[in-house]
Symmetry: C2
Subunit: 193 residues, 2 copies
Amino acid sequence: MRPSKRDELVREALKVFYQGGFHATGMDALVVATGISKTTMFKHFSSKEELILAVLRLRDENFRNWIIRRTSELGRTPREQLLALFDVLAEWFAEPDFRGCMFIKASAEYQEPDHPVHVQSAEHKRLLFNYVRSLAIAAGALKPDSIARQLLLLKEGAIVAKHMGYEDDPASDAKSAARILLSQAFGPQAAAA
Amino acid sequence: MRPSKRDELVREALKVFYQGGFHATGMDALVVATGISKTTMFKHFSSKEELILAVLRLRDENFRNWIIRRTSELGRTPREQLLALFDVLAEWFAEPDFRGCMFIKASAEYQEPDHPVHVQSAEHKRLLFNYVRSLAIAAGALKPDSIARQLLLLKEGAIVAKHMGYEDDPASDAKSAARILLSQAFGPQAAAA
DNA sequence: ATTTATATGAACCGATCAGTTCATTTATTC
DNA sequence: GAATAAATGAACTGATCGGTTCATATAAAT
């Protein structure tokens, strides 16, 4: 079995759902957008929800790998990488097709706390937290969990602000706030990054 | 004209949309939930979208007034009120029916930047920013716009984290971060709040 | 009591929803 | 070239979507 059609469907559905939303995008719209027949779609996925879950899995993989790769490229030390998170954010915001965080939007459309889509969206945030915490630990932060949570609050806030469009450069605001928080996270006497 | 039915509809629709989402809540569901006939609904609002806009106007009024009142009650000085923002946030999160920010969710479902629902949701955030900035100015912050934006990034991030359920007490994390940012916002020599 | 405005129920509209059925076609593989 | 598997198009299901029509009923105001 060459799963190319299935993968192609998930890849294209990711784009369409990301731009158009989940409820607002019907399966027939996916047929038009992908050129894949509805029969084939429902042979690979027994429901729209399962397709959405597959899309979210791919998004998590792509997005998290990209974050890890770019922070590694932009920062030499773990502490620099923590700060570089917000430069990566700025790169993302600058993409012409930027439409906010797919997981925030997914959990906004599927609100019930134990809905599979909601649960899986939260899992992405936990995995990202694990990465940021590992950087904080490697950097020698006094309270790595705490600083990781705080930095990620800034990140989520910036994503929301950018997506809603009421702020011009939230990544820059988040970065300057992060710099202050980081300067406190290694003890009062620690040197700057 | 006694506009009681219209107001009653908007008040009830606010609850149902907030709990169930916009696309996922049909007009017939509102008929069941409110007991108001569909004929009457479309006599007051020419479309579902207009009803949603009226709901968002009410939400903005209620929510912003509540924030202003509670911060005033919890903090004596403007600077205390800036910090109290995050105690108000914690109160909100503790409400049993908490379901995140209605405006974040609305702009997640209506993504096009110039869609009326998206535009009006962003306007709510701007109005809230104006209030926080006025507190920062009254408190004598060096860069009131900057600190207001930073504090609001923490607020939005905390709302998202709480709604998605991947963090237990994001309001507390946001508050401790806010304390650090505030301590820098009045100059290196300024006393703590 | 009569006018005027507001609200009602229920049937109805065409469009779209997620999902199914089925006969046919296109590739792979041996 | 026969067998096997994957994909197709198109029609179809029943439910629901936002929104309309219309005749009736319920008020309040004069």
